[in-house]
Symmetry: C2
Amino acid sequence: MGATIEDVAKAAGVSIATVSRYLNGRTEAVSATTGARIQTAVDRLGYVPNLAARSLKTGRSRLIGVLLANIAHPYWSTVLSGVEEACQRANYSVIVSSASDRADIEHRYLQMFLEQRVDGILFNPAHAEPDLVAAWSALSVPVVTLDRTLPGLPFGLVAMDNARGIGLAVEHLVALGHRRIGFVSWHPRSLSNRQERLKGYLDALAGADIGFDPALIRFAEDGWSDGVDCTVELLVEPDPPTAIISATSMLNLQVLAAIKRCGLRVPEDISVVGYDDSPWDELLDPPLTTVATPARQLGVAAAERLLTALDAGEGTVTGEVRLLPQLVIRESTRQAPP
Amino acid sequence: MGATIEDVAKAAGVSIATVSRYLNGRTEAVSATTGARIQTAVDRLGYVPNLAARSLKTGRSRLIGVLLANIAHPYWSTVLSGVEEACQRANYSVIVSSASDRADIEHRYLQMFLEQRVDGILFNPAHAEPDLVAAWSALSVPVVTLDRTLPGLPFGLVAMDNARGIGLAVEHLVALGHRRIGFVSWHPRSLSNRQERLKGYLDALAGADIGFDPALIRFAEDGWSDGVDCTVELLVEPDPPTAIISATSMLNLQVLAAIKRCGLRVPEDISVVGYDDSPWDELLDPPLTTVATPARQLGVAAAERLLTALDAGEGTVTGEVRLLPQLVIRESTRQAPP
DNA sequence: CTGAAAGCGCTTACAG
DNA sequence: CTGAAAGCGCTTACAG
């Protein structure tokens, strides 16, 4: 069906070498008239170069593999759009896979990426248990890890400054006079981003000379419901918090729903700081004070870090890039009760 | 760096033809002992087959191109996870691109897909203006269009039954005694899914013998804010609606926010039916009555339709598959005031 | 500025 | 059950 470079060469009355040079933009190496003849042939035949053939020859596929822990999470689709944008700009295509939070699937996909001979990998790991992850120490392409670090692996990291993000939330609440500040998060497990947020909470508390009360922390199971129950538990404590920090965007609404279920009002009875600043956070009731963690920028930064390494011919990416979150103050936080 | 099939053959003391047969699962054609020797060599060398080479030879890439109008929309990331899942099951990889709602970008991406020699394309078009779209009439691979039809193009369609979805919402409100039912949608333009929802609204009204009042319809510009203004306009009409249907998930929260801004309560003062049943709709205040349009299933169905055509060796996909939405009744709708 | 030729890593008849 | 050989569609020294 498709025309090949040979068809074009024949139609233009030149060799395939010349066609190839013209197509690859080495215009200084092809005379203008020859170029015009080739272009005419390309147009007439509807010639579309075969990247598989090029890849086989050059050893570069112009493919970037993106492996997400779970693509169904709205935050990550936005990150992906940033990755997309940066890769597109650099003329790379993006192969996307989602591990549905399962390490065995991650394995399969990484293998697939290798078979497709992607030039590089962007990876938001679902798990970080050292034994599961050890097998990836010898991946043959540069890898940049997104938001989560993998201990002991030769990957670069591009992530938000998670500790600082939660720090901003704590400081804001402390400035409003709150001293009993609840923290609702997903269970940290071995995931660096979650651990960092927890650490950010503890450090900021310490920095404000507030004693840490374990009763004020709740870890929910991943998903769209457990956060509600966890928050309710927190609210029925004998000495409940006057403010709550939600450490993940998917938990924001669950915390709010739990508070309403308990018959409390935000911010009259309790203040809430959310995370991520999803586009709809300002549409919530009340408009949510949140820690903004620009998703699109994260994607762009990660892709650019990888692409830079690729351009430089580096076989591996090192170091880490941290993006700074920002606090967006809206109406869900106010002065603590006396 | 990477071992090739020739390295494996040498290490196992057989020809590359035999290695190829073994690797492709034609185990009946390879003796058990030879197979074992090959497997040992593969493991020891860490051999990873080169799909570009295979693709070049077989003419099949095992790549599916997915082109989304805008991947940053949460609904579509869920659709994508369904596509993902189905393709993974069938051993295809997925190349994802997002057009950011721009037709020129769509063009570029389609071209990229062709260059990558994808085996098929899943396409949620950003625009459907006939002149923009005409160029795609001769795409060399099977295409299935997602949610939106492209007039006159030889593509299959997998979509929700949009008209029926809105019909369900109208019927529910009519049953509750509402007769002034507002409709807030994005501007339909030439997009079939939006036109169908509008038609569903009009037809259902007619079916209930309710005269149609143009003052009850508002079209917002795409995005996260214009829907608020449109809804406010609707609410300050001299004879305002007693219920509102939001025709897109991204509009649900905007409609709710506008109602609150006007000092009205849901459902005491006005009923609201949303669209899509995003996972957080039940966490809203009040929990939202919505038309559920299972995103993941849509993705799975579309991918399967395409994969079936591919298996059958069909060069083009025809016909359409319609998925039925379902009404999920929660607490944002109630009896109309007398 | 242009062409002939080798070779990227596979699969697949064809022959044995 | 196994191997030798052709060929998929490109790129890239090398020569001229």
